[in-house]
């Protein structure tokens, strides 16, 4: 049973944070049990933005359901679509052209950078620094423009289809991405100047929100939040998909287990994403951007599971097919949900003001948690 707002029998104060709170970036509702200023318990209440995406997908065909998944984790829409496209391709045993796979990886990494930049700006704003938000959005705008030119939209692109891509690259794509790489390499040092090296920022992040390696594993914390606790869980390295096995990059691991470690993982990951894009941008092979598919896609009877690394962690797509044109059941294993479950463990015993730093470094996207 949920505890009521007010004071409980032990004299602890029970308060709401959210669902409409500027630090929660959405409709996240936390019920906090406070002893003075010390957090005794954090209880997330979910369901405010539940749209039953899994159920919706059951009535959509294998071509149609991909666009819905852009609305789960809208900041890594491309990567969500990629997971769905891979699981349909797995079921149909469809060979995706090399060109499409390379373009997919470039798009995924651009999305990852855009997502991490938004996180960086928003997290710094939570902590109390207002300027970084504009710096982050300035560079993110460049990625949005690249996406707009090739995919036709800025956030919910729906660019991936089973068998490849919806359209070929825009002729300016390579030029613009190269310009972005040069620009971004300069700007990421500015980020360090503005925030990372700031002693006030470090003092607020260091030792805050400790999550041990064992806890990270047992809560299923994936992505940068898990790697900040030293858990090696990068799906791109462990179970490579698309062309990730052909590119050189480093899996970022930090052993600090605190908010600063999680912050550093993301900052360093942006540099790795740039490395991946640099390797691929000049080597996009010629050829088709889409494999030839039938007008109506049908999956054979069976179960298909795919996992990819989104900007927040491991996204799993589980399709159960009865052999028809629509899936019998779809289940998404979203990274945000598992990451949120660790918040209680992190926050117990720490001060109320540090809760924002913990939520910020978990990089919660609420539509991803609720689906």
């Amino acid at each position: 049973m949920f505890e009521e707002i007010g004071t409980n029998t032990e004299g602890d104060l029970i308060i709401n944070v959210g669902p409409q709170h500027p630090a929660t970036h959405g409709v996240l509702h936390l019920v906090l049990t406070l002893n003075g200023e010390t957090i005794k318990k954090v209880e997330p209440h979910l369901g405010y933005i539940h749209r039953s995406i899994e159920k919706m997908c059951e009535s959509l065909t294998y071509r149609q359901f991909i666009y819905v998944t852009s609305r789960m984790d809208y900041l890594s829409a491309h990567i969500n679509n990629h997971a769905c496209a891979i699981s349909v391709e797995k079921g149909m045993q469809l060979e995706v052209p090399e060109r499409a796979q390379v373009i997919r990886v470039i798009m995924d990494e651009l999305t990852r950078i855009a997502s991490h930049e938004l996180w960086w700006g928003a997290m710094a704003m939570d902590i109390g620094a207002f300027t970084p938000f504009f710096h982050a959005f300035r560079e993110r705008e460049k990625i949005n423009e690249i996406m707009e030119e090739t995919c036709g939209a800025r956030l919910t692109m729906n660019y991936y289809v089973p068998g490849g891509l919806m359209a070929d690259l825009h002729p300016d794509f390579q030029k613009k991405v190269k310009e972005f790489i040069i620009l971004f390499k300069k700007k990421i040092d500015e980020y360090d100047e503005l925030v990372t090296g700031n002693i006030i920022f470090i003092n607020r992040m260091k030792g805050v929100g400790l999550l041990s390696k064992e806890d990270a594993v047992s809560f299923g914390v994936t992505g940068p939040a898990g790697r900040g606790s030293g858990v090696s869980n990068d799906i791109r390295k462990l179970y490579p998909y698309a062309v990730y096995d052909k590119v050189q990059f480093e899996e970022i691991l930090e052993t600090g287990c605190d908010s600063l470690a999680r912050y550093m993982v993301r900052i360093r990951e942006m540099k790795q994403s740039i490395l991946i894009i640099e390797q691929l941008i000049d080597n996009i092979p010629e050829g088709d951007f889409q494999a030839k598919t039938k007008a109506v896609l049908k999956l054979p009877k069976g179960e298909f599971y795919t996992r990819v690394e989104t900007a927040r962690g491991e996204l799993g797509v589980y399709i159960v097919s009865e052999g028809g044109t629509t899936p019998y059941r779809i289940k998404f294993r979203s990274p945000g949900f598992s990451n949120l479950s660790a918040l209680d463990k992190m926050a117990r015993g720490s001060k109320l003001g540090d809760l924002v730093a913990m939520m910020g470094t978990l990089d919660l996207v609420i539509p991803d948690i609720d689906r």
């Binding site: 149609q64 300027t131 030119e149 036709g152 939209a153 919910t156 359209a167 100047e193 700031n198 006030i200």
Partner: protein
């Protein structure tokens, strides 16, 4: 010892603050690197990307002819029932009945711009327009009939 540590911390805080402020000051004096778009003022010069997905339109040529055969491929491809095609039967000069579209109803309020209808169209009759100012006062204004009055199907398209 404590006092030395304290002073050191204060000094490093001031230093990191100055480093950050230097960056802010740089942009304060370099206006050319600011890229804010003055949106409602630059409306006349604003160019959208040519692939930008604004809304679905049925393209008509100068003779008020379109290429839609009424095959409903787009209607079937749409995940949200955005498109509804009402067909009628035209009498051709030879006296035969021929299927043609009566109304191409498009619900912009349901559309998510997923581009699946455009891909599905076998005759390239529909395309995405680059408009984006879709605000209206009443929801019913968003339900549009895309074929123009008295428009016909272009000759030679089956």
């Amino acid at each position: 010892m404590f006092i030395v540590k304290y002073i050191k911390e204060v000094l490093s805080a001031i230093r990191s603050l100055l480093v950050g402020m230097r960056r802010t000051g740089y942009y304060f004096t370099h206006h050319k690197e600011i890229i804010t778009e003055q949106y409602p003022d630059n409306r006349n010069t604003l160019v959208m990307a040519d692939r930008f997905k604004g809304e679905v339109v049925l393209t008509h040529d100068e003779n008020n002819e379109h290429a839609c055969t009424g095959c409903t491929a787009c209607e079937l491809a749409c995940p949200n029932a955005t498109i509804k095609i009402v067909t009628k039967f035209d009498i051709t000069p030879e006296g035969k009945k021929k299927k043609a579209i009566d109304k191409f109803v498009y619900h912009l309020e349901l559309c998510t711009m997923c581009n699946l209808c455009i891909v599905a169209c076998p005759t390239d009759a529909i395309k995405m327009a680059q408009t984006f100012e879709h605000s209206v006062y009443d929801r019913s204004e968003l339900t549009k009939i895309l074929n123009k009055p008295d428009s016909k199907i272009r000759a030679g398209i089956e």
